[in-house]
């Protein structure tokens, strides 16, 4: 056997969707995580309920680089329909496990091949009733893999017990199938490949969660009071997580509720309801994805113009139109930046990790209420639906900011003299009152039509211009409240990188690889729009700044060019999207393409 390869490889599992493989795959991921080895898992699934090919990729990396790997070292083929393609995908020198009931040729001699007697083993499992055999059969490959690469069976048990919420019967039934797979492999297969796992201590204190759950929890810690949503992949699990956790986290002795979650009839109504609630003083949100967001455009413009706080989560999928509903991208950025007709500027938060999904979950409400604006949070399918290692969620480090609200006693003091859209504090943010405030001067008439400082209907050209100028001024004030970019300034850097969102692991890996090859690169991760002063300062400090993103048109690059036209000549775009989560390879290749000859030659060895 060649030199062992320890804790540094990736696995791809090809199954039939709807066959129950996701439990098996998550079990592998979680067991490796509990062995202390940095690991990530990506579900590459079809927009279908049952019967289509689906893949799951697991990457283990002792150094913590967890972006999707372009080529798997180990492939497990359970699906005859994708078998041939799966075999072709194995990296040279890799490993191919396959269910031995698939009678198709092995046409490669550069990979180690292990057949798995899945059907036979599962039939011998006496505690698995016939109707569950196909589902539990997936556990057999977990067991075979565990035996062959060294996944600790106790950790597999932990993962199953967690999945089945400690219910003994399903946990044991599945675990027995895992054990049977492992025992069979021990008796029938001889290890002749180099890939092994060895326990580490690199995941101590970390948790594993998906971004949609994190976002929902963040919203709950942000004091969410109202959410309306319409089912859409990949955002549905965000609202469903609200329903899962709200009853527990907002439990009261009297059994009454301080919140409401409504499944609306469509996305128009979902945002309409959230805007109604936000207007009336509730911390309100909706969650959707591209097609839903398109429907929300008109309402988003109303919230901007009438100055209503509301939070909109966009868990991005790919494409114009229906696109690829189960694949990821960063394709909604320019749309959201100017969403809705007329002059319009958006506040956008860009989380890049599970912990940021949580953090922005509560911060978004503070920002929306402080600014009286819609706040968009752009996550994506990769962040939202995949399980990621993460530092634990941190309790909000500051009290809620409910913004500028005048209540009865304030109106009393003002003797009722106030104007809904008066810029009394010179920051562009007016004061507001809420329905139910019992003062004869509390009420005002909210409208999406032209209005003056006292919320009266107006078509006066000066009034319109004044209002739009104030909104622009308010957008400037936003800069004080949004999360600042994360800057890593490197002395003597050849160029700077700008990126955002879920590409972070891929970009950081590419940057580390290039640094190891002698190419120094600074980096700035944008976390919000509007851009803050750090962004132009960073661009100014570098001769070349490469903007990396997961879309076709280089949308962030476009926005930066528009915001800083004088700096635009320095900007280069690396934009690619095919629905799969970013990998270090395309980031790295993209960076090199934009660098001067000597710089890229110095890393030819890569």
């Amino acid at each position: 056997m060649t030199q062992k390869i320890v804790n540094d490889f990736s696995i791809m599992i090809g199954t039939v969707n709807g066959s129950g493989s996701s439990t098996a795959n998550t079990t592998i991921l979680r067991a490796i995580f509990k062995m202390g080895i940095p690991v990530s898992g990506k579900n590459l699934f079809p927009s279908n309920i049952q019967g289509q090919p689906t893949w799951y990729t697991v990457r283990v990396n002792k150094d913590g680089f967890l972006a999707r790997d372009d080529q798997p070292h180990i492939v497990i083929a359970m699906n005859p329909a994708s078998y041939t393609r799966d075999l072709a995908d194995v990296a040279p020198g890799g490993v191919f496990f396959y269910a031995d009931d698939i009678k198709l040729p092995i046409n490669r001699n550069d990979v180690t091949v292990y057949p798995m007697a899945i059907k036979q083993i599962i039939r011998e499992q006496k505690d698995v009733p016939p109707h569950l055999r196909d589902l539990v059969a997936n556990m057999v490959y977990v067991g075979v893999l565990a035996e062959m690469i060294g996944i600790d069976l106790e950790r597999i048990y932990d993962a199953l017990a967690f999945h089945f919420k400690k219910r003994e019967k399903p946990t044991m039934m599945n675990f027995n199938a895992v054990k049977a797979g492992a025992e069979w492999a021990r008796a029938n297969l001889t290890k002749s490949d180099p890939f092994v796992l060895e326990p580490m201590d690199k995941t101590n204190g970390l948790i594993m969660a998906d971004g949609n759950t994190a976002a929902a929890l963040g919203a709950i810690y942000g004091g969410l009071q109202f959410a309306a949503w319409y089912p859409i992949t990949p955002a549905s699990s965000l609202a469903e997580a609200l329903n899962d956790y709200l009853p527990m986290l907002r439990k009261r002795e009297d059994g009454k509720r301080t919140y409401a979650v409504v499944q609306a009839e469509d996305e128009l109504a979902a945002l309409g309801m959230a805007i109604g609630a936000g207007w009336a003083g509730l911390r309100a949100m909706t969650s959707t994805s591209g097609p839903g967001l398109s429907l929300m455009a008109e309402f988003a413009g109303l919230a901007y113009y009438a100055e209503v706080p509301v939070v909109i989560w966009d868990v991005q999928r790919i494409g114009p139109s229906t696109g690829l509903p189960t694949r990821t991208s960063q394709g909604d950025l320019t749309f959201v930046a100017h969403i809705s007709h007329g002059d319009k500027q958006s506040v956008i938060l860009l989380p890049s990790s599970i912990s940021e999904c949580f953090e922005f979950g509560w911060q978004a409400f503070d920002i929306a209420e402080r600014l009286q604006m819609p706040v968009f949070v752009l996550s994506d399918l990769d962040l939202g639906m995949n399980q990621w290692m993460s530092k634990p969620f941190e309790y909000p480090n500051r009290p809620m900011d409910r913004g500028k609200i005048l209540r009865e006693e304030d109106l009393e003091k003002l003797d009722g003299n106030w104007g809904r859209y008066l810029d009394v504090d010179d920051d562009g943010i007016p004061w507001r009152t809420l329905p139910g405030i019992m003062h004869p001067k509390a009420a005002y008439f909210t409208r999406g039509t032209g209005h003056d400082e006292y919320a009266r209907y107006s078509e006066d050209p000066n009034v319109y211009w004044r209002l739009m100028q104030r909104l622009k001024k308010k957008y400037k004030t936003v800069e004080q409240y949004v999360p600042r970019p994360i800057v890593q300034q490197v002395e003597g850097a050849e160029a700077g990188l700008i990126f955002y969102g879920s590409t972070e692991p891929a970009v950081e890996e590419a940057r580390a690889r290039l640094a190891a090859a002698g190419l120094k690169l600074s980096a700035l991760r944008i976390r919000a729009l509007p851009f803050t002063e750090e962004v132009p300062a960073f661009i100014e400090k570098h001769n070349t700044v490469i903007v990396i993103e997961m879309n076709r048109d280089g949308q962030m690059c476009q926005l930066l060019c528009a915001a800083y036209p004088a700096l635009a000549p320095k900007l280069r775009s690396v934009a690619y999207v095919d629905g799969l989560p970013a990998s270090a390879k395309w980031v790295q290749e993209g960076i090199l393409q934009h660098l001067s000859q000597p710089a890229s030659e110095s890393v030819q060895s890569l």
Binding site: A269, G272, G276, A277, L434, G436, A443
Partner: protein, 350 residues
């Protein structure tokens, strides 16, 4: 509109909470003179004044169109939200969670409800959101200058538009089909009935759909048009005479001749007294209501009155079992889980 002016030295006329009718006024209307919508706005003012509802306890909603402008012309002391075309229901649905003690009055039109807003209309009805949903129905788009709406009758001829070929949407039928708990129809030319039905609709807990034929004097008031004053005056067929009796005001029931009446009690203890006219109509039967509407449609009758009522179904917000304090008065203490819970949440992750 008649308003009693206070005589010099005489105490000003006030309602049970000490407010004058003036406290319920809105801005001067900018709609056409003679527009049915203005008459409805006046009846809303009077109804709320007579019911002694604090104006701050009312919240107004509308969509887009002439009808949707009208919340500006009543109840200046009430909050209002004039939102998007056809989307009044969703905004109201969300807003009403903030304070369930508020009364919601929504004003929409036939375009706003029966065309662009049909989806939201059906769903706000189906959810039984606690609001009065008025459709100021004139069969025509006024603000864009006289196109057919979806409630226009077959054969209606309009300048520039030609002859309408399509079957009209019947707002009341749609409401009942969507399981509305209160459905009424009236005619802006019959202010007394409008007022009594408004009161009953406001007192009703749940959705109250009120289709009011409200002629457009500028674009659709031809003598033979279904939505015109002349046609309405000549053809209105009231189902009953009706009187709204507030919960605290039991004595008034005695004013009505016994025997020929049907009384419907609402959620808050108030009563609608229905005095039978020619027909024997019971508005608590959904099936009868649909049958009656079908008959009216076939015969081209403008049947007015209380078409359907069901007063014991919980409203949308009722089904959420919210705390007694209005949600928009809760503080961080009520809303943010305690610091110690974060560890538990982290433990719940893998």
């Amino acid at each position: 509109m008649t308003q009693t002016l206070p005589l010099a030295g005489a105490p000003q006329q006030v309602n049970a909470i000490g407010l004058t009718r003036k406290d319920y006024l809105g801005n001067p209307t900018t709609l056409c003179q003679g527009c049915g919508h203005n008459s409805i706005a006046n009846q809303i003012i009077t109804a709320c004044y007579e019911m002694s509802i604090p104006p701050e306890k009312i919240v107004k909603f509308s969509g887009i169109g002439c009808s949707s402008k009208s919340p500006n012309y009543f109840l200046n002391r009430s909050f209002g939200f004039n939102g998007l075309h056809g989307r009044m229901p969703s905004v109201a649905t969300g807003a009403l969670f903030a304070d369930i003690t508020l009364h919601a009055i929504g004003v929409s039109g036939d375009g706003d409800t029966a065309s662009i807003g049909m989806g939201q209309f059906k769903h706000v009805v189906r959810r039984n959101v606690d609001m009065l949903y008025i459709v100021e129905n004139n069969g025509v788009y006024g603000l864009t200058k006289g196109q057919f709406s979806a409630t226009a009758e077959v054969g209606l001829e309009l300048k520039k538009q030609g002859v309408n070929q399509y079957m009209p949407v019947d707002i009341c039928m749609e409401a009942i089909a969507a399981n509305a708990t209160f459905v009424a129809r009236s005619f802006a030319g019959d202010p007394k009935q409008v007022k009594e039905l408004l009161k009953a609709a406001i007192a009703h807990r749940g959705i109250a759909v009120f289709d009011i034929i409200s002629p457009c004097v500028t674009f659709n008031n031809q003598e033979n048009a279904y939505h015109s004053y002349t046609w309405g005056k000549d053809h209105e067929a009231p189902l009953h005479e009706l009187l709204f009796v507030p919960a605290r005001d039991e004595i008034m029931i005695e004013d009505i001749e016994p025997g020929a009446t049907l009384e419907v009690e609402l959620h808050d203890g108030s009563v609608i007294v229905l005095k039978k006219l020619e027909r024997d109509y019971n508005p608590t039967h959904r099936w009868e209501a649909l049958k009656m509407l079908e008959e009216a449609q076939r015969n081209n009758w403008l049947v007015t009155g209380l078409i359907y009522v069901e007063s014991n179904r919980p409203s949308f917000t009722d089904t959420f079992h919210l705390v007694d304090t209005p949600l928009n008065r809760l503080t961080e203490k009520d809303l943010r889980p305690a610091p110690e819970t974060i560890e538990m949440v982290n433990r719940m992750m893998f």
